[in-house]
């Protein structure tokens, strides 16, 4: 009897914490998203679906922009992260763990601080652009900040390790002899990669894609710091509605619209990659 209870007792504190502060809050937010009222009169449950219509019609611009930026950042992460993960896994030799450590080290500087550092590094007359302008390599009105590419690159920068790690994990685990087998069967380097290595590594790309697409689409730190007023993303709207305007019903509704959009994105992404083993990949 005692042995049967053991796993439940072990799991109980963690489980209870997740239930109380993750599952219940999401349910609470559903309820909040259907209320009417304002912060002075209080909020009443009226099953007001109109909040969702408002969320979509008022903020479709920011929603679409967030999706595009998230997608762009994810693609950049794949293009940059895959070759790096591949090289470390196949050619890192005995320094593999050192390279991985180097990829992770930037996390020891606060996310906000790293982003703000980019802002100062790339400011219009800062160390980089100022120098290039003074020697005449760039026109005086050239700017990186407050542009869409600055936001997308900032997002890619901040979430790149989340792409490298899962791809690396899959490539490192695979039996490298299958590549030799492909060469023995007269596959060229490119063929061996496209028909052997890439298919095996797709679950890693998928996992990495999830770990970058979701947080980049919902992020607003990069957009606020690097993008200026013209590049507002949907996360920023959620934050402003909650913390500044105190319009909780619409804020909660926007949050769920964002979640819905993300889920649609994830499923179409799964389709595109032909990966049906979403959970399986994550379980590893």
């Amino acid at each position: 009897m005692r042995r049967k209870l053991t796993p439940y007792l072990l799991a109980l504190p963690g489980w209870a914490w997740l239930a109380m502060f993750f599952v219940v809050p999401i349910a609470g937010m559903v309820s909040l998203s259907l209320t009417s009222g304002n912060v002075i009169t209080g909020f009443y449950q009226t099953f007001n679906v109109g909040n969702y219509l408002d969320a979509i019609t008022l903020y479709s611009e920011q929603l679409v922009r967030s999706l595009l930026y998230g997608l762009g950042a994810t693609l950049i992460c794949i293009v940059i992260g895959y070759p790096a993960a591949y090289w470390i896994a196949f050619h890192g030799g005995k320094h593999k763990s050192t390279y991985l450590l180097l990829i992770l080290l930037p996390f020891f500087v606060s996310f906000v601080l790293r982003t703000i550092s980019w802002k100062f590094t790339l400011s219009d007359n800062g160390v980089v652009l100022g120098t290039l302008k003074s020697i005449g390599l760039l026109p005086a009105d050239f700017a990186v900040l407050n542009t869409a590419p600055a936001v997308v690159l900032g997002l890619a920068y901040n979430f790149l390790p989340f792409m490298v790690l899962p791809i690396y994990a899959v490539l490192e685990r695979m039996d490298h002899r299958v590549v030799e087998a492909a060469h023995d069967l007269y596959a060229s380097k490119l063929q061996a990669f496209l028909r052997v290595v890439l298919p095996i590594s797709l679950p890693g790309v998928f996992a990495g894609g999830l770990m970058t697409f979701i947080p980049t689409t919902a992020d607003y730190v990069n957009a606020s710091v690097l993008g200026g007023p013209g590049n507002t993303m949907i996360g920023s709207i959620v934050q402003t509605q909650y913390l500044v305007n105190n319009d909780y019903p619409i804020a909660a509704a926007i949050t769920f619209v964002l979640m819905g959009v993300l889920l649609i994105g994830i499923f179409s992404y799964a389709r595109a990659l032909g990966t049906e083993r979403v959970m399986e990949v994550q379980a590893k």
Binding site: P7, W17, F21, F22, G28, V112, A218
Partner: protein, 275 residues
């Protein structure tokens, strides 16, 4: 995603030596240079002898900000909040996350699938959703925002990371070792204390450090539930418009140095354990 730094032994063979340019290596080092660019900037400008409020252009070298690192009372207070919350998160999430990971890795029980799914969702959910949901709950139930609310939130979003780190290690443990201990007359508690726990310790420590790192780094979730409390990332955010004092660079540099030291020690210990 498991973020343990020990590389598992894989059947790799020495790469063939070629005299051609190793483009892969150059590329990887290029990526690393990109990753470290703003950090280099941050460290360099912690030595910048600025006169005004804006730490953007180079005005000369000085050590004075290191001497006066705690001159901004509010900033120091924010850093103390961040460190206190980080340590408490590490202890609480480290403990209950390890227990959860042990249960998931070692036992089969009802609700296991649901637990995995909830953990997966908690890891994948965007921070803005987690922050908004928690604030919704706190508003509905009437829990005050502030220090306790931040701690509750940080344990919530880090506990799954600890659990999967520990679970990954539990799965690879050889059950024969525990059996051998029992054969030698050890009770379940003694077996756990003398055999299971020492083998799990690197994973528990890695999980705890991960929780600490995630906690001190967090801006988005914290901004929702912080109320009047200002943590280090929140303070920096608030100071962007009026100019970030060099003390921020100094603190960032010091935290980075501590993190690097801990990570290097972790790698060395892991290497020594294996050999």
């Amino acid at each position: 995603m498991t973020v343990t730094l020990d590389d598992t032994a894989a059947p790799t063979q020495a790469p063939r030596r070629t005299r051609k340019t190793d483009w892969g290596k150059w590329f990887t080092w290029g990526v690393l240079a990109w990753l470290f660019a703003p950090i280099t900037f941050m460290i360099a400008f912690s030595f910048n002898d600025i006169q005004g409020r804006h730490n953007v252009t180079w005005e000369g070298f000085t050590f004075k900000w290191y001497g006066g690192v705690f001159d901004h009372a509010e900033l120091t207070q924010a850093l103390l909040y961040t460190l206190a919350i980080g340590v408490l998160t590490m202890l609480i999430a480290g403990t209950i996350g390890s227990l959860l990971g042990l249960a998931l890795g070692r036992h089969r029980f009802r609700g296991q699938g649901t637990t995995n799914l909830v953990m997966f969702a908690a890891i994948c959910a965007p921070e803005v959703v987690l922050g908004a949901a928690l604030l919704s709950l706190f508003l509905l139930v009437g829990i005050a925002t502030g220090f306790m609310a931040i701690l509750l939130a940080h344990v919530m979003f880090t506990v799954s990371f600890v659990a999967i780190t520990v679970r990954a290690r539990v799965i690879t443990l050889d059950p024969n070792l525990e059996e051998a201990a029992r054969d030698l007359g050890a009770g379940p508690w003694t077996t756990f204390r003398l055999v299971t726990l020492p083998m799990l310790l690197p994973a528990i420590m890695a999980g705890g450090l991960l929780a600490f790192a995630l906690s001190i780094d967090d801006y988005i979730i914290t901004s929702f539930v912080a109320g009047e409390v200002t943590t280090f990332p929140l303070w920096i955010w608030g100071a962007t418009r009026v100019g970030i004092p060099p003390q921020v660079n100094v603190m960032g540099t010091l935290i980075f140095a501590v993190g690097v030291t801990l990570a290097v020690i972790n790698v060395i210990v892991a290497k020594r354990r294996r050999s």
